[in-house]
């Protein structure tokens, strides 16, 4: 097979005339990072809340939380993305829907992707948080209550400080997943890293260089995340417990 390797393709001016193909990659890289980080923020906040609600004694609250988790965990990510992007604007009040549809396409794609990834991942984070809380001995909660703390205070000062420390390792996987799952958003036209890679192939016919570059970019992201999370783990770990010594 005669393949013409040409790594200099990244330095060539792009077909659109603005900047080089390398700039395309940088743009995709930034989009992926921006999308994943904002989605992760949503996932952490919502996931923590829902995870806590799953463990409270109130049957109604824990039921709602359980339903939330099941919905977002059991619908395929791609289907969820299409629901957010194609279906939801139709279900909104007409004015709001129209405003959405008339906005900048990038904004439409980014918002849909962010919500989709954020909520999808929040269901998974919620399950980690729940298992973290439930892994604590039952006496911990009772000890907090017996000392005179209300249930919310007991969560805040006794259960959550321990539970969050315990779930850092599984949360690392979720954090890595959100970057990889963000590639799905190329299907609605969001020009993130994977989409830029494919576009580059279309314009330059250099698939190997393009996808090697995309792969390396994901590796860089994930290695960075892993290193960061290791540090977080080391900082928060409780001596005598999982991950501690």
């Amino acid at each position: 097979m005669a393949y013409n390797w040409n790594w200099e393709v990244f330095l060539q001016p792009s077909a659109t005339g603005s900047g080089t193909y390398f700039d395309w990659m940088v743009y995709g890289f930034k989009t992926t990072i921006g999308l994943s980080l904002t989605a992760w923020l949503i996932a952490l906040l919502l996931g923590a809340l829902v995870g806590v609600l799953r463990t409270v004694p109130n049957k109604l609250l824990s039921g709602i939380a359980a339903a939330y988790v099941e919905v977002f965990r059991n619908i395929p990510l791609l289907v969820q993305l299409f629901l957010w992007y194609f279906v939801l604007p139709e279900l909104l009040p007409t004015e709001l829907g129209n405003a959405f549809k008339q906005s900048n396409p990038f904004v439409q794609q980014f918002l849909s992707s962010m919500l989709c990834l954020g909520l999808f991942t929040s269901a998974r984070v919620a399950e980690q948080v729940r298992s973290g809380i439930e892994s604590l001995p039952r006496g911990q909660k009772n000890a907090g209550l017996a000392i005179g703390f209300t249930l919310p205070q007991t969560y805040r000062y006794v259960l959550l400080p321990m539970a969050f420390r315990l779930v850092v390792p599984p949360l690392t996987s979720e954090f890595l997943n959100i970057f990889k799952n963000s590639a799905v958003c190329s299907t609605i036209g969001l020009l993130e890293l994977a989409a830029q890679g494919r576009q580059l192939v279309d314009y330059t016919a250099q698939p190997y260089e393009s996808f090697i570059a995309v792969t390396l970019a994901y590796v860089v992201i994930n290695v960075t995340v892993m290193v960061l999370m290791r540090r977080v783990e080391a900082r928060v770990r409780v001596p005598g417990f999982i991950g501690g010594k």
């Binding site: 006496g139 009772n142 209550l145 017996a146 000392i147 005179g148 005598g240």
Partner: protein, 361 residues
């Protein structure tokens, strides 16, 4: 007015009644103990008092104030009841000092510091406040758990099998220490345990629980020497039963002869009105009631012996076939199968109407 008052407390899990009409009172400053085999409902009772479970019937009052009745329960955090747990339940992410200070919410930082320092001294861990729970031994952790429960000066302190995770030596030492600390703080306390040595070492009064009900509420001495029923007699201490016939209020005839009781045979006459002169009864014989005496005409065969250091616990068979336990100084080293002379020296006879089932000693 008593400090804690339980009135016909009932607790059910589904169809299963776990606590069945328990009533008792505890006076301020007293240490009470609920003693019973596993599954007798003692821990459930404690959880009801702490407010972790709503109750199905009856009432719980502290200082006259209603804490629990069916359908209405003061939440645990408003009860000012301290609790010490079987697994200590120390907060692993906090230092010893922070654990103890945890419940001190309304105090100034100065007051907190003083109280924590005082408690650390009380539990013998001064200058160790900066350590984390996992750096302490089991006994030390349990003392920290006690200090944490004492810190907010609760109205009542509950101890749920607090020493069961510790080895025997430590258990005995710590139970005396904990008693001293509780008395020093003037605390009213309830201990739950299945270990009678622990109960005897700590409690002023003990309630024997069985089948969700209190069988007898009494001092440790009376539980041992004046058990109210056959269950209590079996459960507390060791002993054997000899069948006999009542002659009158003070005399019982057994295989080995006639026994005299200094006090009237109250137990039996109280428990069963049908029981009177001529009734067949079982007489409780404690190991310390059976005295080794070579000169005695009554001989028994050694069936089994357990060396306890200072003494032997012999299992003996009387000529008639009945078995007795005897605690004998370990200088008297007799082989299994040997015939030894014994004497029965029972001051107060405890007897119960004959039952069909006999539990082994």
């Amino acid at each position: 007015m008593s400090h804690l008052e339980l009135d016909h407390l009932v607790q059910r899990y589904g169809e299963h009644t776990v606590v069945n009409g328990v009533s008792f009172r505890i006076e301020t400053g007293s240490i009470a103990c609920l003693l019973g085999p596993s599954g007798c409902g003692k821990t459930t009772l404690l959880r009801c008092i702490a407010g972790f479970e709503p109750i199905a019937g009856g009432e719980i009052r502290v200082e006259g104030e209603l804490f629990s009745r069916p359908g209405c329960s003061l939440p645990p955090e408003k009860r000012q009841i301290g609790m010490v747990f079987q697994d200590y339940a120390l907060f692993p992410h906090l230092t010893i000092s922070d654990n103890i200070a945890f419940g001190l919410k309304d105090e100034t930082p100065e007051e907190r510091k003083t109280r924590v320092a005082g408690l650390l001294q009380t539990i013998g861990l001064d200058h160790q406040g900066n350590k984390y729970p996992h750096e302490l031994s089991g006994g030390q952790q349990q003392r920290v758990a006690l200090a944490r429960a004492l810190a907010p000066r609760p109205q009542l302190i509950l101890l749920d099998e607090p020493f069961s995770n510790l080895d025997v030596d430590l258990r005995e030492r710590l139970s005396v220490e904990v008693r001293d600390i509780l008395k020093q703080e003037g605390m009213t306390a309830i201990l739950v345990t299945h270990d009678q040595h622990e109960a005897f070492a700590m409690a002023d009064e003990i309630g024997i629980m069985h089948g969700g009900a209190i069988q007898q509420w009494d001092t440790p001495y009376n539980l041992y020497h004046r058990p109210a029923n056959r269950f209590v007699a079996d459960f507390v201490g060791q002993g054997a039963f000899l069948e006999g016939t009542i002659i009158d209020e003070h005399w019982v005839e057994v295989d080995t002869g006639v026994l005299e009781s200094q006090k009237p045979l109250a137990c039996c006459f109280d428990a069963s009105p049908a029981c009177g002169p001529g009734s067949r009864v079982e007489v409780l014989v404690r190991p310390d009631d059976v005295v080794h005496d070579d000169a005695s005409p009554l001989k028994a065969e050694v069936l089994h012996r357990a060396f306890r250091g200072a003494e032997f616990l012999y299992t003996l068979r009387l000529p008639g076939g009945a078995q007795l336990l005897s605690l004998v100084s370990s200088h008297h080293n007799h082989a299994i199968g040997e015939q030894i002379g014994i004497r029965l020296e029972i001051d107060d006879i405890v007897c119960f109407p004959v039952q069909a089932t006999l539990s082994p000693p």
